[in-house]
Assembly symmetry: C2
């Protein structure tokens, strides 16, 4: 079989690429070794959001109980949640499968390996199929990484895919890594009554964000009963006598019922032989791409696998560009625009565009203006008033917006438009801000006095 466009990997990037290519009239094939939807749908964004949505009443009750407005008890049925999650994911996979079929995309189940610049072999239990293509889009994504001495064993040392299948909440858990995965899973298990200990090698939670974000997050999670170790290196994490035992480099140890390794991901390019198609990998196997996301004359790489941004919506955006590029509809270089990112849960983190650190590293003079959520009536209504919204300015134009607090993920699209359009303070009042909304904290931050940071 020969394809105008052959896509490897059916996650958010690959799915979008296959659909856009088919809609553009290209004969399109899609190779996936596991499930349609990839990590995002099956073991990532979506199941964690289902779990967080299912348990959202818990922190709200907790907040009101502190204010004496409510009392009560909630019992969550984790096996029932798992059943619902599995049913929803299966339904979603079926739905996207039908979409692909309706668009005429051929789906191949198996592992892909390049055999030349326009050919690859797909291998599964039934044998090997040889396919040829004019252009190929690699979108194989990434997977949990394993550091020496901290390898998930599926027993008491788990990675994120493991914990998403638990049917019983542990009494205690050690989470290594305080990025989105560690924080979201910690919040979820905390709602089920699990005692959370989180360990982060950097000096704060959410270490890719500015320090003020991690500070608020740390204070809030301590208030919720989390034990937090930041700036401490882990030597090993092992299952010992049916318990998870973490040993720090200084020799101190922690013990819990189970543990989650949520630090780092590695590229899913093993066995892909991208060099056979004229491409090359860097580091642990990330595919090197040029300014047009090309790995070679015939091969593009999008999403996690090119190592640029490990976010589903980044892959989607790259997919749309790459299909336009390979159809000859654009010859411009790829420009991502400001990238939004959220950490979900009861106390959320939202950012679009640059951090202070990124701007300073580029030698830019940065100003910041801030509003505290305590001044916002919607934050007050939920009794969750810790946090802030911060706007970063370069030459009088918005260069980044970040926020931490309850519900701040809801600000992401308005913030993305504002940063993408590089709003000035005058632009803020070209729209009417609805009252009362959490969004007014964004308006307040944008119009607050600025200080050089």
């Amino acid at each position: 079989m020969t394809y105008d466009c052959l896509v490897i990997g059916a996650g958010p990037g690959g799915m979008r690429a296959a659909m856009e290519a088919a809609q553009a009239g290209l004969k399109t094939g899609l190779v996936e070794k596991e499930d349609l939807g990839g990590t995002c749908l099956n073991w990532g964004c979506i199941p964690t959001k289902l779990f967080l949505g299912s348990t959202a009443a818990a922190p709200l009750l907790h907040g009101q109980a502190k204010l004496k407005s409510a009392t009560g008890e909630l019992h969550f049925d984790l096996p029932a949640m798992q059943t619902r999650k599995d049913r929803f994911l299966k339904g979603s996979r079926t739905a996207v499968g039908k979409q692909l079929q309706a668009l005429g995309v051929d789906v191949f189940n198996g592992t892909a390996a390049f055999t030349g610049p326009t050919s690859l072999a797909v291998t599964n239990a039934e044998g090997t199929t040889d396919l040829t293509f004019a252009k190929c889009i690699v979108a194989t994504g990434s997977m949990p990484t394993a550091f020496p001495g901290l390898e998930p064993d599926g027993d008491c040392v788990l990675h994120s895919s493991h914990v998403l299948t638990l049917t019983e909440a542990p009494a205690t858990i050690i989470i290594v890594g305080a990025g989105a995965i560690g924080l979201e899973m910690g919040d979820f298990f905390s709602r089920l009554g699990t005692k959370i200990t989180i360990v982060e090698g950097m000096d704060r939670l959410a270490p890719t964000e500015d320090a003020d974000i991690g500070d608020v997050l740390g204070k809030q999670l301590k208030r919720e009963g989390w034990t937090i170790h930041t700036g401490r290196k882990v030597a090993s994490l092992k299952t010992v006598d049916g318990k998870a035992v973490l040993t720090f480099e200084d020799g101190a140890t922690l013990t819990a019922d189970t543990s989650l390794m949520a630090a780092g991901r590695k590229p899913a390019s093993d066995g892909l032989s991208v060099d056979a198609a004229g491409g090359a990998t860097v580091g642990a196997g990330w595919i090197r791409t040029d300014a047009c996301l090309k790995a070679s004359d015939t091969v593009y790489a999008i999403g996690d696998i090119n190592g640029r941004t490990l976010l589903a919506h980044a892959a989607d955006h790259q997919a749309r560009y790459v299909v336009r590029h390979l159809c000859g509809r654009t010859d411009a270089e790829y420009v991502s625009g400001p990238m939004p990112a959220c950490i979900y849960g009861h106390t959320e983190v939202m950012r679009v565009g640059a951090t202070v650190a990124e701007l300073k590293a580029a030698g830019t003079s940065v100003e910041a203006s801030v509003s505290q959520l305590v001044a916002n009536p919607i934050a007050q209504s939920y009794g969750t008033t810790h946090g802030f919204v911060k706007v970063l300015w370069v030459d009088g134009r918005m260069a980044g917006i970040a926020a931490v607090g309850h519900g701040v993920s809801h600000l992401v699209s308005a913030a993305t438009i504002m940063v993408a359009q590089q709003w000035t303070v005058e632009d803020v009042h070209t729209i009417i801000w609805a009252h009362p909304t959490l969004d007014e904290a964004l308006e307040a931050a944008a119009t607050a006095p600025r200080t050089t940071v």
Copy 2:
């Protein structure tokens, strides 16, 4: 005392006008007969949001219970909520009082009456103070109206300010009027266990919105146990033997423990004698304004009192314009831009810009594109998937966005920017939409196939 700018009414419009005027260097006075903050802060938007936020866990638990994911019981303490509300409102009034003081605004407590084009008298229990001004801004707002035969008596026929002070939830309530006030208060009491009956003279709930919005709302609220009477006229609503008794024009009756009259508001212009300042009222007392929001050479009228848009943020927007106009910073006519409006609660309504009916009445050819929330993973995560997002198009540009469903108020600012900037479908992909978010339902609606409506 003589003021460059004298403002009457300390609601959202008057407060903003006074602050902007003082910041512009004008000698500014502010007259208020009751509490700083007006209806919005004291008897409107803010207390209802506090109550809805305080009880938000209830419908979330209910939704998860249906999915078998959770069980539990919640008890809300209405007296404690009232105490917290009163404390919060008092704190907010103190805070805005300090802001006014810091800006040098003189605040007068009393009722204002114009005595001439540049003079008015402020009367309170201690006597009358005469003030003169170069320009005056009237921002006296509106209040619940009373139809003959349906007058709130404070016993079993209440208006919104009454119900906001209840310390015991009634077992049953009849709500007359299915606009924002009736729907929000109904949702709140429903969470406390009150059995809700809502009566609306028009043919649907939320009658100022398109019919498809009211249809979804009606179905959802019926599912939640509400009794809904639409398209039926009410002859009377009385307290009879300690019960609320509603009589329809056809003679049928309803009885409940209490009732809320939530239909219509009237202008708060009684005794203002705006004619003495060269102004005029229309209808029930709304102040007539020209294209620059002027009632006379010396008097502006902003917010509810001019009858244009009865929303706090409309008043705020008009206040900013009027201060610029009276300072000579603009001589352009007032343009509001697309107006956002939300009905809050578990199932929310959001709209910005025009309805189908408004566009058709203007003879415009309208297309609509829709996405159903059931396809959105965040809607799925909360188990609340009824509803949709709809984009209205005129000549290929967005003319209005409306939505109904859980959490749709969070879409309001992004939607406002999109409609204000009259986006085309190509504009939708000038930003990266974060995944997974409810906002993707907005993206999906904007890129869905269009049909002529």
